[in-house]
Amino acid sequence: MFEYMGDRLSNAIKNIRGMGRITEDNINDALREIRLALLEADVNYQVVKEFINTVKEKALGLEVEKNVKPDELFIKLCKDELVTLLGGDYVPLNTNGNPAILMLVGLQGSGKTTTCGKLANMLRKKHAKKPLLVACDIYRPAAIDQLKEIGRNLNIEVFTEGKENPVKIVTDALSFAKENKHDYVIIDTAGRLHIDETLMQELVDIESTAKPQEILLVIDAMMGQDAINVIEGFNSKLKLTGAILTKMDGDTKGGVALSIRHLTNVPIKFVGNSEKMDGLTEFYPERIASRILDMGDILAIAEKVEGIVSEDEAKDQMKKMRKGEYNLEDFLTNMKQIKKMGPISNILKMLPQARQMGLNNVDIDPKDMAHIEAIVLSMTPYERRHPEVIKASRKQRIAKGSARSVEEVNRLLKQFEEMKKMMKLMANGNMKLPF
């Protein structure tokens, strides 16, 4: 299990390996690394302190049985504790209400407007609902235009009523929704500081007018230690029912998720992970726990891949890999799949183990795809299946046939070897991908 972890932490964990017992002495290094990992993930200082104490206490009480490695036990304990802290079961949206009213609140720039569009899109797609978007950000220049454009692109109706009075806009939007049989109303509010009394009062007024089923705090996953002030600020004035963590497609660890759970009883309901309108997924505590412990976001990759590779194709490849038959034809197929997933370097970044193996230098520019294809197609079928026969003279022929240079042919063969290495690892179950 710990194969997936960041270098520092897995080094610290080595101390525990081979010990018959977990003692204060042999977990101290590991605890220190975990503490740093958490702080570097922007987990709140107090939360980290409590967490370390709990883990220490529980770890010392652990009975190490035969057949179980103490280091694995320890890491499992850490992860389980994190998952517990992040909150157990998934809490679905409260939809009791006709129309059901959702209100999104948060700081400036946290991603409310985009998230409104994503939510509406998701509700329509998954639940066949007819949502209405309501533009209440009367302050930021062009905020209303932004929501309108989002609505236009999604073909979802947007209610606007100038820049006068958000409470009145909401009131009118609600009667409009009833008349037009919208079953969801999603209110986009202006970004504001939690210490801005006037604007916080405006939210309270909207709340008492609209009586929303859900008040969702939209919060940037990159947020630092100030998160606790923000969360407390919004939570003390409004009856928050959930939070949405945005910009998780960045390389932030998202430790703010722990602060949310620790400070409020509010569940995290969704995670935003792209700028596109389908970039909203349910929140899985497991994933953030792995991410914070630098265990690689295996599941996220898994989900990404699922939509792209058909199951048969995947099984077929798996078999080939086990037999060590992975060849250039498979390589070409994989390259095409990877192209659909985005740059391979990004995918490898999500896999700490790939990093350890020095695989992080594999990169494929989408523009190179055409070249890769040309080169592979200039090989004979035999060459594609037995790349080891491609030597100097063959390389020259292939280069000529594809109108690429010999260096490029060499580079491709090298990339192929790297890919093969990685595939072998996955096939052996050391690195799991659902191919």
Binding site: L39, Y45, Q146, G224, D226, D251
Partner: protein, 325 residues
């Protein structure tokens, strides 16, 4: 003796009536109150410098988002000084803390914290950063500042991706009295190309280019930035070029990765630290200065076009520690 005294002198004597110091005062009031009151509280609560004291101090620094590495190093050098200089009084230590923070930021070099404006020529400033940090608003603020100094300013809407981005910048160009160039639904590099040509024609002095927010791990979007740079070099080869990375003061440790990635691809010349009017401390800029060596040039203290101040490390630290002095 140390920077602390220097700052103290500056502020207790010369800068008392200084306008910008006052603005810092109000904008950073919340920041300062919390941070400093915690520090001075520390001096009262702990008279002995022991483990408990160090832990409380570390918490204050981490809570300011100063950066785990930087804080760890800082704590180490503090412990060393305490030992070597035989310091036993926590009050005395407060001064050393300010000193050490200052040293981290200044790091023995003279900082160019000014925008390098070309007299009798053009200055092009490219604004980059992750989503929602305040790029577009900062452009408005900087335009306002230079227009007040009698410069002709042009804004180019290089964010052709986000819904409403074009309208947002256009609205700011009208409010500030800047020229504007934009074209929806086209490639940002070509918009910038045409915008720069337009700037040559209308003889603008300062050209501010907005770009779409991008997360630093999106390689293809990052590549787009180097393309924009090439366009600038091509159209106005003899301009003074600045690239400002906009960072939100609420940003945590990810700020360091942002600075590293953007610097690698665009030669960032400075940072605009926004949203300091909230409770966030923006301490990550200290870590960025230490680890990536990019100075802060401006700070944002609100949503209006007047809410911009040049960054001044002495003011900044003074703002954080005023109550201690």
């Amino acid at each position: 003796m140390g920077f602390f005294n220097k700052i103290k002198n500056i502020f207790t004597k010369d800068k008392k009536e200084d306008e910008s110091a006052k603005l810092y005062d109000t904008g950073l009031a919340k920041t300062r109150n919390e941070f400093v009151s915690k520090l001075s509280f520390l001096g009262v609560k702990y008279t002995k410098i022991d483990e408990e004291y160090y832990e409380a101090l570390e918490e204050i620094l981490i809570n300011a988002d100063i950066g785990v590495n930087t804080v760890t190093k800082f704590m180490d050098s503090l412990r060393k000084r305490v030992k070597e200089e035989n310091i036993s009084n926590t009050k005395e230590l407060n001064e050393i803390i300010v000193d050490e923070l200052f040293i981290i930021y200044v790091n023995n070099e003279s900082l160019s914290d000014k925008i390098n404006i070309k007299e009798n020529g053009k200055t092009v400033i490219l604004f980059v950063g992750v989503n929602g940090v305040g790029k577009t608003t900062s452009i408005a603020k900087i335009a306002y500042k230079y227009i007040n100094m009698g410069k002709k300013v042009m804004m180019i809407a290089g964010d052709t991706f986000r819904a409403g981005a074009y309208e947002q910048l256009k609205e700011w160009s009208q409010k500030t009295g800047s020229y504007f160039y934009g074209k929806e639904n086209s490639d940002p590099a070509s918009v910038i190309y045409d915008g720069l040509e337009a700037a040559l024609n209308n003889d603008s002095d300062i050209i501010l280019i907005d770009t779409a927010g991008r997360l630093q791990n999106k390689d293809n979007l990052m590549q787009e930035l180097s393309k924009m740079n090439k366009v600038i070099e091509k159209v106005i080869p003899d301009c003074n070029k600045e690239t400002l990375l906009v960072i939100d003061a609420t940003t945590g440790q990810n700020g360091i990765l942002q600075a590293k990635a953007f610097k690698e691809i665009t030669d960032v010349t400075g940072i605009v630290l926004t949203k300091l009017d909230g409770t966030a401390k923006g301490g990550i800029v200290l870590a960025i200065k230490e680890e990536v060596n990019i100075p802060v040039k401006f700070i944002g203290l609100g949503e209006k076009m007047t809410d911009l101040e040049p960054f001044d490390i002495e003011n900044y630290i003074y703002g954080l520690f005023k109550d201690m002095m």
